[in-house]
Amino acid sequence: MSNLLQPHKADWYEASARERIAGLLDPTSFAEFLGPEQRAVSPHLAQFGLTGAFDDGIVVGRGSCGDHEVFVAAQEGQFLGGAFGEVHGAKLVGLLRAARAGAGRGGPRAVLLLLDTGGVRLQEANAGELAISEIIRAIIDVRTAGVPVLALVGGRAGAFGGGGIITACCSRIVVSEHARVSVSGPEVIETNKGVEEFDARDRALVWRVCGARTRYLTGGADRYVKGSIEDFREAATSLISHAPTFELSTLKAEQQRLTERLQHFGDCRDAPEIWRKAGLTQPDRITDITDDAFLAIQRPKGADHDAR
């Protein structure tokens, strides 16, 4: 375990779900719901010869974050790729429903989702898929009640499949360089469509197509941070007070923003083509420069928005 005494200094990418929560929230403020001592284990894994986990790969609870009372959920990307199963998904559904019930009645000021997931857990595919749909509805209900939901993505598993869709349902999205946010994984595309369509072993290509820098520059993420837990904490704390509401005008603006993205860039095959069209200098180097140099880039028009 790294940096036990200074959990916020630790690297988000390397940290476990519990370490991320410890560094993200104010010291000693975290209280877990349905913790591992209650052994809410998936009953579906044994038939596949897999051992379960006492938290089923997700930690949920409450705490304070820079004096904001928040609910928090963190997926453990090292357990079955952070995938959504029945218990795993239901823990998040329960947390979101409680956040909505508490809105305006002393409930949390925001919900923080620390996503680190490959998507549905195929050993319990139907339960996982349904949980993702239930989570999407619950996020929308929470946002409608005036409580922002923030997605924080920077783990090994990224946010793929339904996890990518959940990410884009949140009020705000924070990413670090390691984050990949997508629906179909590169391996899945290669398997189905061939290596000419997507060479999943070309890691630079994978990051150009799915990675944090592309998402941030196109408006698929709202904040790009350097990789420490403290960086995520600062971003989350400031974004809690600046989140779009869920209403018709927001979605109409999103319709326009996503339509314009297709009009401007829909014929691009790779990220540097987008940056060239957007007028960024040195479009071929954007994935290679340091975080500081990247953060100094002026984002293309429309990438900074309230339309989600």
Partner: protein
């Protein structure tokens, strides 16, 4: 059944549903007791990508903006999400999420939303269409899945025969209408022997649930025994802290 047969059976008095690009359809139809309803859909097994999703969301948002409380019927015969580098480069996750959010917004504004599944729907396309309406109806020919068994076999490294055997004893992972009915995803299944128009009118007469009931239904149908209880236990502990 073909799209035309389904349209004729769902909307016998009249419908004007036209084909758009990217496998989409859009129009209006009359349903007994409801007057005009909005019809949108993705058909002919077309994978749902960025182009189709933005078209469908646009139709849904236009219906919300038009006001009233006309139901929105979503016809679904798709595939999985469109698996392409271009779609992922553009941010397919945002486009699918936008469609799911638009359907949820329509329901919030009082438009009952019903998905009618009559072909394939898988993975992310299943989430953004069929699972994003308040009710999901499966017609004959419906083949919902999260992932097909050969793919599950590849990932889980369990032989296909063993998976097929397992699928007989649990609805938790197997593709098809029956397991997804048992887990609470599919609200109703309609057979060819009953006029779809009457079933649709009856469904739309039912009071709309104000919250997501699928985990409760999955428990009652014994297909998803834990989800509701786990969510409740977390919510109870959370409420103690509020």
């Amino acid at each position: 059944m073909t799209l035309d047969e389904i349209l004729a059976s769902l909307f016998p008095s009249s419908h004007r549903v036209e084909r758009g690009s990217s496998g989409t359809v859009h129009g209006t139809a009359k349903v007994e007791g409801q007057g005009d309803v909005t019809v949108v859909g993705i058909v002919e097994g077309t994978p749902l990508g960025i182009d189709g999703a933005i078209l469908l969301a646009g139709h849904v948002l236009a219906a919300v903006e038009a006001g009233g409380r006309a139901p929105i019927i979503v016809l679904v015969d798709t595939s999985s999400q469109n698996m392409a580098r271009r779609d992922e480069l553009m941010g397919l996750n945002e486009y699918l999420a936008h469609l799911a959010k638009s359907l949820a917004l329509a329901a919030q504004h009082g438009h009952p939303t019903v998905s009618v599944l009559f072909g394939h729907a898988a993975a992310g396309a299943f989430i953004a269409t069929a699972l994003s309406s308040e009710s999901l109806v499966a017609l004959p020919g419906a083949e919902p899945s999260v992932m097909d068994l050969p793919s599950i076999s590849r990932v889980t490294k369990l032989p296909l025969d063993q998976l097929k055997e397992l699928a007989k004893s649990t609805p938790i992972f197997a593709p098809g209408v029956e397991p997804l009915f048992a887990t609470g995803a599919v609200a109703e299944t309609w057979s060819v022997n009953e006029p779809f128009a009457q079933r649709l009118a009856a469904l739309l007469r039912q009071p709309v649930a104000t919250s997501d009931q699928r985990d409760r239904i999955g428990f009652e149908r014994k297909g998803r025994l834990l989800a509701q209880k786990v969510a409740e236990r977390v919510a109870i502990e959370a409420a103690a802290h509020v």
